[in-house]
Subunit: 445 residues, 2 copies
Amino acid sequence: MQENNWDIAITGGTLITMSAGMEIIEDSLVGIKDGLISAVGRNNDPNFSTFKAKELINASGCIVMPGLVNTHTHIPMVCFRGMADDLQLMEWLSKHIWPVEMRFISKKLVYDGAMLAMAEMILSGTTTFCDSYFFEDTTAETISLVGMRAVVSQGFADIFMSDKAKADKMMRVAGRFVNRWQPHAPMITPAYFCHSPYTCSPDTLTRVKEDAREKGILYLLHLLENKDETDTILDRYGKKPVHLLYDLGVLDEQTIAVHCNWLSKEDMAVFADLGVKVSHNPESSMKLASGVAPVPGMLRQGITVGLGTDGCASNNDLDMIREMDTAAKIHKVTSMDPTVMNAETVLKMATIEGSKVLGLDKFIGSIETGKQADIILVDMNQPHLTPLYNYYSQLVYASRGADVKTSIINGKIVMKNRQLLTIDYETAMDNVNNIAAEIINQKLR
Amino acid sequence: MQENNWDIAITGGTLITMSAGMEIIEDSLVGIKDGLISAVGRNNDPNFSTFKAKELINASGCIVMPGLVNTHTHIPMVCFRGMADDLQLMEWLSKHIWPVEMRFISKKLVYDGAMLAMAEMILSGTTTFCDSYFFEDTTAETISLVGMRAVVSQGFADIFMSDKAKADKMMRVAGRFVNRWQPHAPMITPAYFCHSPYTCSPDTLTRVKEDAREKGILYLLHLLENKDETDTILDRYGKKPVHLLYDLGVLDEQTIAVHCNWLSKEDMAVFADLGVKVSHNPESSMKLASGVAPVPGMLRQGITVGLGTDGCASNNDLDMIREMDTAAKIHKVTSMDPTVMNAETVLKMATIEGSKVLGLDKFIGSIETGKQADIILVDMNQPHLTPLYNYYSQLVYASRGADVKTSIINGKIVMKNRQLLTIDYETAMDNVNNIAAEIINQKLR
C-alpha cells in the first residue's frame, strides 16, 4: 500500500477533471502535496484508505474542478468600472478612458486596482489570468503577493515611442522585465503584448516578436476587434491585418490574437496552419458593439480558443462563469443553431483550452496527477442549482461566480468558504474608492 | 409635524426610485405602513425626525429599489433545469420536454417546482412575475403561501381540445379560476394565456379574448418566437401572424405578446397603434437560437416592453439581474451600436415598464408614496461592485442575483440578509431533487 501523506485532501465532491477523457468522478478524493496534485480517485479507493492530510476539505455537495483561466484582461481597469458606458467606441476611448488613464495611471493605481481585481477573480473562480496594462512590473509584484497564477505581458505601442532611442529603451526595459519574472514561471510568466496592428508599426511588431522568440515567451496582440480595422490596415499597407502579420512573420504557436471578431475564413486557415491561438472575449465585444467572433468556425478549423473577460471598463466584471454562459448563448443565436458551443465546449475554453492558449496546459487546466493544484469548489447545494441533471449545463447555464466556495492555487488555499485568505479586500475597496473619488472630482472640474 | 408610525423604515441606502423623474436619493428613508409606501425622502428630512417603526432596516451601503418584475416564465419548469440543453428546438421539445411533461406533470410537481422557483426568484431580486403553465390554480395557491406578487395565467391550446364540448369545459374551468383569484388582485391577478397562433385555432384565440375582455383580464400569447412561425401561419391562413391576430380582433392594450423575435416594422406599427405590450426574453431565445427581438425598434415606436426569463428549461435560471445584463449587451452587438439599450433603459424594462406590461404600474414598479411596498436592497459593498460611478451601470453590468440582500413584497419582509422567511427552501430542493431522480430513472429505462 502506498504512503499518502498530503498537505490537503479534498473529499466527497463530484470531480470534473477536464482531462482528455473528461472523466467525472462522484464521491471523489484529491490529494495535494507540495503544490502538486498527487492523487485523484474515488473516496472509497482502498489505495487511499490510510491517507494523512494537514488540511481536510469536505467537498460534499460541491463540484471540484480546475480553476478558471481568463486569457485576456487589464486588471487595474477595475478602477474605471462603470465610469463610462453605453457610448460609441471612439467617444468612450478618447473622451473618457484615455484622458483618465493619462491623468491617473500610476504604480499606486495599478497596485490598488490589481488587488481589488484579484479579490473579484478569486471570489468568482478564476485562478489564472493573462494581464496586459501599464506598470506590468508592479502588477506582477502584486500578483506574487496574492499568490495567483498569471501571464503578465509588457505592452508596446508606437504612439508612445516617438523615436528609435525611445524604442530601444523600451526594449531594454521589457528585457529586464522578462529577466526578472522568467524564473517565477509557471506562477508568473512574462510575455510581450503589441497593442494592435493599427497602434504598432511593422518595425515594432517584428522587433518585439523577434525578441519574444529569442526569449521563448508568448506574443499577444489585439486583432480585428472592430470591423473598420481591416480598412484602416488595408489603407495603410495595402493588405488586410492577418495578411500583414503573416508577411511580417509574427504569427506562430506562441502568438495569441485577442478578440478576432472579424476574422475571415481565409484568416482562420492561416491561424490553423500556423497554430496561432485566440482569446475570445464575448461580453466586452457585445457591450462595445464590436462584433461577435466566429468561434464555432475557428473550432471547426482546429484553432485553440480560450475565454477572457477583457478589462472591467468594457464588461463590467471579471466573472468567468458569467462569461461562459454568454459565450454559449451568443454563438447559438448568432449562428441560429442551438447545438453549437455546447456547455462542455465552453467549459473547456474556460479551463484546459485557455491553459493551452497561455502555454500552461502542461501545468494546469485539468485535474490530473502531477499537475499543479489549481482547484475550485463550486457549491451546488442551492435553489438556483437544483435539480442537477448535467454537470456541464449546470456550471455554464445556471451557476454564478458567487457559488464558488473555496479556491486553491498552486496547492495553497486562497479562499475558504468565501473568505479570502491572501487579500485584504476591504482595504483594496477603500483604496479604489478613493481613486474613483479623485477621478469624479477631476471630471466635475 | 406629521405623525410617522410605520411598520418598516429603511434608512441610509441610496434610493433608486424608477419614478417618472428617475430621482435618486442618497442617504434615503422609506417608510412602509399597511403594505404601502407611506414616505419617501432623505434621512435627514425634518419631517421624519420623529418616526417610529416596528422594524428598522439599515440600508447603508445598499441600493434600495423596486423589486424586479419578470414578465414571462413557467416556474414549475425549474424541475427540468438542465435536463436537455444544446439541442435543436423540435428535438428538445418532442424528445425531451413534452414526453417528460406528459409523464410527470402533476399538482405535486407544480407545487414543488413553484416553491423552489420562488426561492430562486426572491434570492435574486424578483418580487413579481407572470406565470403560465399547467395546474395554474395550484401555482396560485403556492404563490399565496409564499407571499409573492404574480399574474397567473390559465393556458389554452387546441391540441388539448379535441371537440367543442371539451373546449366549453375548459372555458368553464378557466372562468372558475378567474372568479377564484380576481379578488386577490393585485397580489394574485388571474389572466388568460393562449399558447400561440400555431397551437390555438382562430376560434379559440377569439373566444378566449372575448371572455378576457368581459372579465377585464390580461390576454397573453407566445408570438413569433421562431422564424418559421410566419411561414406556418401564412400556409395555414394566407396571412402573417400579426395580420391574423389583427383580423381576429385580439390585439389591444390588454394583450401581451411574448418573445416577438421576428416582429416586422409593420407589425410594430400595429402594436404601437393598438397598445399591445411585449415581453422580451433574450436569454431563452439566445439559448434556443430562436432569434433576437428587435427591441430598440419597438422602443422607438413607443411599444411598452418588459423583461422576462422564460422557463428554466431554456435559460437555465430565473435571475432577472443577469437577464438585464444580457438584454443590454445582445442589442448593442446586434445593432452594432453601443448606445442602444443603455443601462437605464434596461433597468426600466425590469421594473416600471414590466409593471406596465402586467397592468400593475398603478401599484408597483417604482418607489413612490402610495404604491405598494415591493422593495429590494442590493448590497453594493463588495469587490465586484467597487468603485461606483453610476448606479444604473453597476446594477445592470456588474451586480448579480446573489447581491440582493433583503426583499419586501407588499410590505412584508420575505428575505432578510439572504435568509428566506416564507419558504423552506431545503424541503423544496429535496422535493425537486426527488422528482428529478424519478425523471432520470424513467429516461434510463
